[in-house]
């Protein structure tokens, strides 16, 4: 799975360079997130600009990852497509993973 790690002001920004997050790569996606969390990254922004599709397995991976986090940890989502934003809103995941239109805004909010 092609992911670019970038630390911005104590926040880990993960740029996910995949078109689809689905059953095929969900376990890898989950493992990748868990590994970052275990390394101590409690504030993570997922840059989803390149993602076209997310299925329930990938959502499960996201949920699995957030459950690994401590009470102060948080995962925010940036630059998500409108269709996917609709999906996150349907499942109310936007309450769990705050959605921001830019990475900077996400970093800013997480720090606050």
């Amino acid at each position: 799975m092609d992911v670019l790690d970038l630390h911005q002001e104590g926040v880990l920004v993960l740029e996910i360079r995949e078109p689809r997050l689905e059953a095929r790569n969900a376990p890898e996606f989950r493992a990748l997130l868990v590994q970052r969390i275990e390394q101590g990254d409690e504030l993570i922004v997922l840059d989803m600009a390149q993602i076209e599709f997310i299925d329930s397995s990938a959502l499960g991976a996201l949920i699995g990852a957030i459950k690994k986090m401590g009470p102060l940890g948080s995962i925010a989502i940036a630059r998500i497509s409108p269709t996917l934003e609709r999906l996150l809103k349907l499942t109310r995941m936007d309450k769990v993973f705050p959605i921001h239109s830019t990475v900077e805004e996400a970093v800013e909010k997480l720090k606050a």
């Binding site: 299925d55 397995s57 959502l59 499960g60 809103k89 109310r92």
Partner: protein
């Protein structure tokens, strides 16, 4: 054309050429051998004839001496037998030897010799009478001349191809002529030695000139030609020549002179002196003949021996060459041709996949051995490959067996899962129609509907994250949990609260699921729904208008403390409620483009006028057409409820 046949062809050509060469050489050696043998026999024959001639000449001298009453004939030796007898013996001897010479005209010579034998034999009777002695002597000489002629023609037929033999031939001829001359002179002088008659002048001159010419010729020949040949024969001939010139010739001249004088005492003295020298001269001549004969025999034997040795050598070489040829042919056959054939056969066998035979032979030639070894390695590899293939097939069979077992397990599980699903039909005041297409045998999707007292009905639909066996087990658990919770909930009870309880108690280790719970009440023509992450249900109104219900909600199992909201909606007769999982609009075509909610909405509007069965069938067909097969990536389930 194979390598083997090429090798053997080359070898055969070489062998045949060698054989031809050796045969030719052997044949030539044989011819030389045969020629030498024949030359030897011819020389013997001719020597016997020469002896006959010399004996006849002696006989003439003896007869002439006898005629004048001389008890000592002017010849070299005392005669053992009667006149002519010795000559006959020599002729017989020659006739015995003649066939060995293998002359072309052998019969002719035999006949001629027989005739001369008979002629001489007939003359024997006349030798006892003194009368007609002169005539007899001439007849004997005629026979001798005839024998000499035969002797000459025999040689002419065969020819002489050896220089030493040619020299000996010349020497012999010279000796023969000398003998002839001495004999003729003696015969001419003898009638006058008793002194009754004086020889005429021309006789004297004749003898003197003939002898002088003879000696002169001989001297020239010896001096100019034979001097180069250092042989005993030449030495002896030179000695003879010197004797005649210096000793005999003066004595003969003195005798002739005395005869011409007519003084009886002088004649007596001169005759005695001449007679003694004549005998010595004869002895010289015969010694020369013997020497020549010995030399020619030795030379011929040498040639014979050389020819025999050459023949033996060539035959031995031929045998050796044939042996070497056969040996090398056998070597090529055994060390190259046969191993090549074996390797070729093994290769063909290997190529045909026959691995039964092992090429165990250890070839002598290193390159063939390498080929053979390589072949063995190929075979071992092939055997190993075959074994691996067999093992792989066995493994495949085991996997297939396990797979079949697993599949039958899954099928049994699928049957259990399917048994949870209610059959479509009328429940309470509502009619339910459904579409269920799991992406694998076991699905994460499930649904149920149940009647309520008073004609109402409840419906729920669950979609567990993921799909397959794990998702299906979770889905069964969720199904059971929800069904049990709803069983204890009276009509009009708190749907959201029931779901919150399930969420709160949902085991952490299980995956989350989305769910939609709906209660339909006929008398109020309305319904209530609670949405937990599930797609917004659609209501297709009687007039064809399409609305989507719900405000979303967290899936069950994401957060322990989730609040769900109950939403009320109108649901009159003629309205149709469509509840579905996301698989329905996330179906992808081969290019991974999703079907989408808009396309689904369009489809519903387009077929709003059709009855529910047709509508569901159209949706099913459209999805299959979109995905290009009847297999979906995600489970699809659709439940349609309408007022009866």
């Amino acid at each position: 054309m194979t390598l083997r046949s090429a090798l053997l062809a080359i070898l055969s050509a070489f062998g045949l050429a060698l054989l031809a060469f050796l045969s030719m050489q052997s044949w030539n050696a044989y011819i030389a051998y045969d020629t030498a043998q024949r030359a030897h026999a011819l020389d013997d024959t001719r020597h016997a004839l020469l002896m006959a001639v010399l004996t006849l000449r002696d006989d003439r001298l003896r007869l002439a001496a006898d005629t004048i009453g001389l008890d000592r004939p002017p010849t070299r030796r005392p005669q053992p037998g009667a006149p002519i007898e010795d000559a006959l013996r020599h002729i017989d001897e020659a006739r015995v030897l003649l066939p060995g010479a293998k002359l072309a005209d052998s019969t002719y010579y035999d006949t001629e010799l027989g005739r001369e034998h008979d002629t001489l034999n007939a003359l024997r009777g006349a030798t006892n009478h003194t009368a007609g002695r002169a005539e007899l002597s001439l007849q004997i000489e005629a026979s001798a001349a005839r024998l000499l002629e035969l002797r000459m023609t025999m040689l002419e037929e065969r020819g002489i191809n050896d220089l030493s033999l040619a020299l000996l031939h010349l020497l012999r001829n010279y000796a023969l002529h000398t003998n002839h001359r001495l004999t003729e002179n003696a015969l001419n002088l003898l009638p006058y030695v008793k002194g009754e008659e004086t020889p005429p002048e021309e006789v004297f001159h004749h003898h003197m000139l003939r002898l002088a010419a003879q000696i002169g010729g001989m001297t020239n020949l010896l001096g100019e030609v034979f001097v180069f040949f250092q042989s005993p024969s030449v030495a002896q001939a030179t000695e003879l020549s010197a004797f005649i010139r210096d000793i005999y010739a003066p004595a003969e001249t003195a005798l002739v002179a005395a005869l011409m004088e007519g003084n009886a005492d002088d004649i007596e003295g001169a005759f005695e002196s001449w007679l003694e020298r004549k005998q010595t001269a004869d002895a010289h001549v015969f010694a020369l003949f013997e020497e020549i004969y010995t030399a020619s025999q030795s030379r011929l034997e040498g040639l014979h021996r050389d020819a025999l040795n050459a023949l033996r050598t060539w035959l031995a070489l031929s045998v050796l060459a044939i042996a070497i040829f056969l040996g090398s042919a056998a070597m090529i056959w055994l060390l190259i041709a046969l191993p090549m054939e074996r390797i070729r056969e093994s290769m063909l066998q290997l190529a045909e996949g026959d691995l039964t035979r092992t090429p165990t032979r250890h070839e002598v030639m290193s390159d063939l051995r390498q080929m053979s070894d390589a072949l063995r390695v190929f075979r071992i590899n092939a055997v190993r490959r075959e074994r691996l293939q067999r093992e792989r097939l066995a493994l495949h069979a085991r996997i297939a067996e396990a797979h079949a077992e697993l599949r039958s397990d899954l099928e049994a599980a699928a049957v259990v899962q399917r048994s949870q699903l209610p059959a479509p039909g009328i429940v309470g005041a509502y009619r339910f129609t459904s579409l269920y297409r799991p992406s694998t045998m076991l699905a994460g999707d499930t649904y149920d509907f149940m009647p309520l007292p008073g004609g109402g009905a409840r419906l729920f639909q669950i979609d567990v994250a993921g799909h397959g066996a794990a998702a299906s087990l979770v889905s069964v658990a969720a199904h059971v949990a929800l069904k049990r919770a709803l069983e204890h909930l009276p009509p009009g009870g708190d749907l959201a609260g029931a779901l919150e309880t399930i969420n709160a108690n949902w085991p952490e280790e299980l995956t989350y699921f989305t769910v939609l719970v709906i209660e339909l009440t006929p008398e109020t023509e309305s319904g209530r729904l609670v949405q937990a992450g599930h797609p917004y249900p659609a209501v297709l109104r009687r007039d064809g208008a399409l609305t989507r219900l719900g405000e979303g909600g967290l899936p069950v199992g994401v957060l322990k403390h989730a609040d769900y909201k109950e939403i009320r909606f109108d649901f009159a007769a003629g309205d149709r409620l469509l509840v579905f999982t996301d698989g329905i609009y996330e179906a992808t075509d081969p290019d991974k483009r999703i079907f989408g909610e808009d396309r689904l909405a369009g489809l519903l509007k387009a077929y709003a006028g059709q009855d529910t069965e047709t509508l569901v069938a159209r949706i099913d067909a459209s999805l299959q057409e979109w995905s290009g097969s009847d297999h979906m990536d995600d489970d699809i389930s659709l439940v349609v409820a309408e007022r009866v």
